[in-house]
């Protein structure tokens, strides 16, 4: 994993005449957010929590939150009431009929480090997978914007892959942080 648009794999979605084919490829990337005014404003308020952000999605009208936004928010409120969960203004909810978990774009507050957020997502996916058959794996899509203390910049973390891959990434980030100290 490297900074600045280093993708471990690309081409997760191929487009051909308006039809999309999704494959199993794993993507993990960190990019520096250039236009980060909105995030900086949120971050400087030192909110103890996170904010779910609605986004433009392809040809859909208005700003939409990802399919898991509602369930994830409720899960956080029930299991982590200490977190302040904000939601940006939205016009609707995106519905994608794949079995993947499409997590919303989030801004991480000053008290939530990226690995902590990733652990929250991992626990949420584990809870959602209750009852799954033994051959069924969870595929996760997530994006989080956070403040990189070391470099003093805003960064976006993007991940697409299975929940086991996510666990490995959490361990890698933790190890990097440990080696940095």
């Amino acid at each position: 994993m490297n900074d600045n648009s280093d993708k471990s794999n690309q081409g997760d979605e191929q487009e051909l005449s308006g039809i999309h084919f999704l494959d199993d490829a794993e993507t993990c990337e960190f990019t520096v957010v250039e236009n980060d005014d909105e995030f900086r404003t949120y971050h400087q308020e030192s909110q103890p929590g996170l904010k779910i952000i609605a986004q433009k999605y392809r040809s859909c009208e208005g700003l939409l939150v990802s399919p898991e936004a509602g369930d994830f928010t409720k899960w956080l409120r029930r299991n982590h009431p200490e977190l302040n969960i904000g939601i940006s203004k939205k016009d609707g909810i995106l519905v994608l009929h794949s079995s993947d978990y499409w997590m919303p774009l989030v801004y991480l507050g000053s008290n939530i480090a990226l690995p902590i957020y990733l652990n929250l997502v991992s626990s949420y996916i584990f809870a959602r997978m209750k009852g799954a058959l033994r051959n069924e794996k969870a595929r996760v899509h997530l994006e989080a914007v956070y403040h990189d203390e070391k470099e003093g910049v805003s960064k976006k973390f993007h991940y697409e892959g299975d929940s086991e891959g996510l666990q490995k990434i959490i361990k890698k980030i933790d190890l990097n942080r440990f080696l940095d100290k």
Partner: protein, 294 residues
């Protein structure tokens, strides 16, 4: 499997009927099985109504017993459709069986159960008999979702229900309200609903494997509960395209090379081979008529 006294007693009462229904499925007596299941539903319904003021746990476990009966019903329909060569329909009933199994597993908190393990193993193997590998999925925008329990916006703070959880024996689900634009149709490997497939004719070559299972059933070589798993291997078989030519002549395959430098040694070719492996299953072992848990 059940933690409340009332529902445990109800399940014990149903045990013999359930075992009888399993024997009916194994003997391909699907109509008789459906009669057993109808009677069971009447018993559960009668108990459910008399327990309407009971604590949440009891009502939630009644929901699980109902899903277990639904699982048996879909399972029976799957084998009925396979035996009647209705392969597209059997895919739908197989998916329903898997949905009910997920529900039962989820709300029994992963309690170890021989019969649930049996169904899980067999249904996963059965699924492999079908040609469906790519599914259809769509992307759209929705204004809001209505909660099935309170009718409020499920994603709002006013609604306290969580999708997929049980509330006094009722499942909370979300109904899309005000569907906006439909953005795309995608082809995916892991869809939300595996019923979204491109349909094939029941007599098409795509159902070759499951058709073989029909033959095994109708010739009484195998019964539903003895279908166990698939074994994959490679086998050398006679190449149907092979033509013996003089060694220096141009090869028949169109490569432009001489036969001796091309397909001379391709009289036998490697094919994928699948064995359907049966295993004798004693129904009274996977579902004892008087045990503490199924």
């Amino acid at each position: 499997m059940f933690s409340t006294e009332q529902v445990n007693a109800l399940f014990q009462k149903l045990r013999l009927r359930i075992l009888h229904a399993l024997y009916q499925i194994d003997g391909l007596c699907f109509e008789e099985c459906e009669k057993d299941l109808t009677e069971m539903r009447a018993v559960i319904n009668a108990h459910g109504q008399s327990w309407h003021s009971e604590i949440d746990e009891v009502l939630n476990e009644v929901y699980v017993v109902n899903r277990f009966v639904d699982l048996l019903s879909s399972y029976s329909t799957t084998w009925l459709n396979i035996s009647k060569k209705k392969y597209s329909a059997s895919w739908g009933s197989l998916q329903s069986s898997m949905d009910h199994l997920r529900s039962v597993k989820k709300f029994t908190n992963g309690t170890s159960s021989i019969i649930l393990d049996f169904f899980e193993n067999q249904l996963i193997e059965l699924e492999k008999l079908y040609p469906y590998k790519i599914f259809v999925s769509m992307g759209a925008s929705v204004e809001w979702f209505e909660c099935s329990i309170c009718g409020k916006d499920m994603d709002s703070l006013e609604c306290e229900h969580i999708k997929g959880e049980l509330y006094r024996g009722k499942l909370a689900y979300a109904t899309a309200k005000k569907i906006g634009s439909i953005d795309h149709v995608a082809m995916v490997k892991y869809p939300q609903d595996k019923r979204c497939v491109i349909q094939y004719d029941d007599d098409g070559p795509q159902f070759k494997l499951v058709r073989y299972v029909t033959d095994l059933l109708t010739t009484k070589t195998m019964s539903p509960f003895s279908f166990h798993h698939l074994e994959y291997s490679k086998r050398m078989e006679t190449n149907p395209d092979f033509r013996k030519l003089p060694r220096n002549e141009k090869c028949y395959c169109g490569s432009g090379k001489k036969f001796k430098k091309c397909c001379e040694d391709k009289k036998l070719v490697e094919f994928d081979h699948v064995d359907i492996v049966p295993r004798k299953t004693e129904l009274s072992n996977i579902f004892p008529s008087s045990a503490g848990a199924p």
